[in-house]
Amino acid sequence: MMFQDFTMAHVYYMLNGLLWTIGLALIALTGGSIAGSVLALMAVSRNKLARRIAKLYIFVVQGTPLLVTLFIAYFGANYVGVDVPPLVAISIAFSFYAAAFLGEIWRGSINSVPMGQSEGSHALGLSRVDSMRFIIIPQAVKIATPPTVGFFVMLIKNTSLASVVSITELTRTSQIVSNATFKPLQVYLLAALFYFLVCFPLTIVSRRLEKRLHKS
């Protein structure tokens, strides 16, 4: 059997996969943000049932390996009886996954706004919703930004697991190139480099934001 030479065409193919990696991470961030903010609000609400549900959701999703969550979404579409393309099923799974982590990060951020702030707004006659909206959330967002960027890095890395269910993101395209050229070491190190070049700057940003937060 003949193997292909490892050429620029293969590198471009891998870069095309990188676009999917970033795209998938962005979809998950968007979907996860919507569901995650609902979860965070449920987790800090006064309703005991809402708090319990949010807590249980976070515990179950964080206690399941992402890979297994992806399998459930990938195969699960059949059981709901709708014909969903794999990419859509996987995007939904990543959104559910991101929601659990973002919900937890944001709950922590809301809780770390000093009590005096909500007491103060209560004393000024603000309703609970208004105090959330104008006093608590704006301060919580500042606290939440560094860990949210950090989680986005984690999300980018974790989209690599979508390769196992044949989504042609960076890891999958690397596998294909590795099989075609039989240069696994070069190919996977190059893939690692691509991931690093995307993730490392974001890691630095997250760290800078964190430092700035601690100064103020």
Partner: protein, 223 residues
């Protein structure tokens, strides 16, 4: 619309349990190795030699900014190209050790930095050897302080062990894939192993909390 039928999965429960045991075994071994690597790297990071610090930081950043599955592929598929062929199981443990070690070392470094300098000076003036100072004054209280963060990290390590099914290690997810192939009851299989992972996580969390009480009893003294 299909109906869920767990019969084929439950009749192969013995296979799943053997997979869960292997998952626990490779995770525990990797945790232990990762702890050793992490301590070493944390100390390297606090070294006064620039080169040593750089090596530690380069290792941490390289691991933390690349996906685990790619690290696993580099070790399992890549290293044979330079004459280093490893079986799937040792490859998995090695990858998990490097992966867990990088994250854990950041936690341990924070713990070491939280130790008051005065304690070290006190130890020195009492005539303790540098090794004893490191052992009793620095690392033990440091690990005690950051133990809860380490528990979270080890849980993530346990969950990431599912990824090694990609190089055909017959741990829980790998067994799940096999049963899925045999029964074609994919949804049922993965729901069951998801529940089993949640159980393993609870078990690990409980076990490590007990260990914390045993190893660091001074954390739980009252008064």
């Amino acid at each position: 619309m299909n109906y869920l039928d767990f019969g084929g999965v439950f009749s192969r429960m013995d296979l799943l349990i053997s997979g869960a045991i292997l998952t626990m075994q490779i995770s525990l071994v990797a945790m232990l190795f990762a702890l050793v690597v992490a301590t070493l790297v944390a100390v390297m990071q606090l070294s006064s030699f620039r080169v040593v610090r750089f090596i530690a930081v380069a290792y941490i950043e390289a691991i933390r900014n690349t996906p685990f599955i790619v690290q696993l592929f580099v070790i399992y598929f890549g290293l044979p190209a330079i004459g280093l062929s490893l079986e799937p199981l040792p490859s998995a443990v090695l990858a998990m050790t490097f992966y867990g070690g990088a994250y854990t070392s950041e936690i341990i470094r924070a713990g070491i930095q939280s130790i008051d300098r005065g304690q070290v000076e006190a130890g020195r003036s009492l005539g303790m050897s540098p090794l004893d100072i490191f052992r009793y004054i620095i690392i033990k209280p440091a690990l005690a302080a950051v133990f809860p963060s380490m528990v979270s990290q080890f849980i993530l390590l346990l969950l990431s062990s599912s990824v090694v099914s990609a190089i055909s290690v017959p741990e829980l997810t790998g067994i799940g894939n096999d049963i899925q192939g045999m029964t074609l009851r994919n949804m049922e299989v993965y729901l069951v192993i998801a529940a089993m992972y949640v159980g393993l996580v609870a078990l690990l969390k409980g076990g490590l909390t007990l260990l914390e009480r045993k190893v660091f009893p001074f954390k739980f003294l009252r008064g």
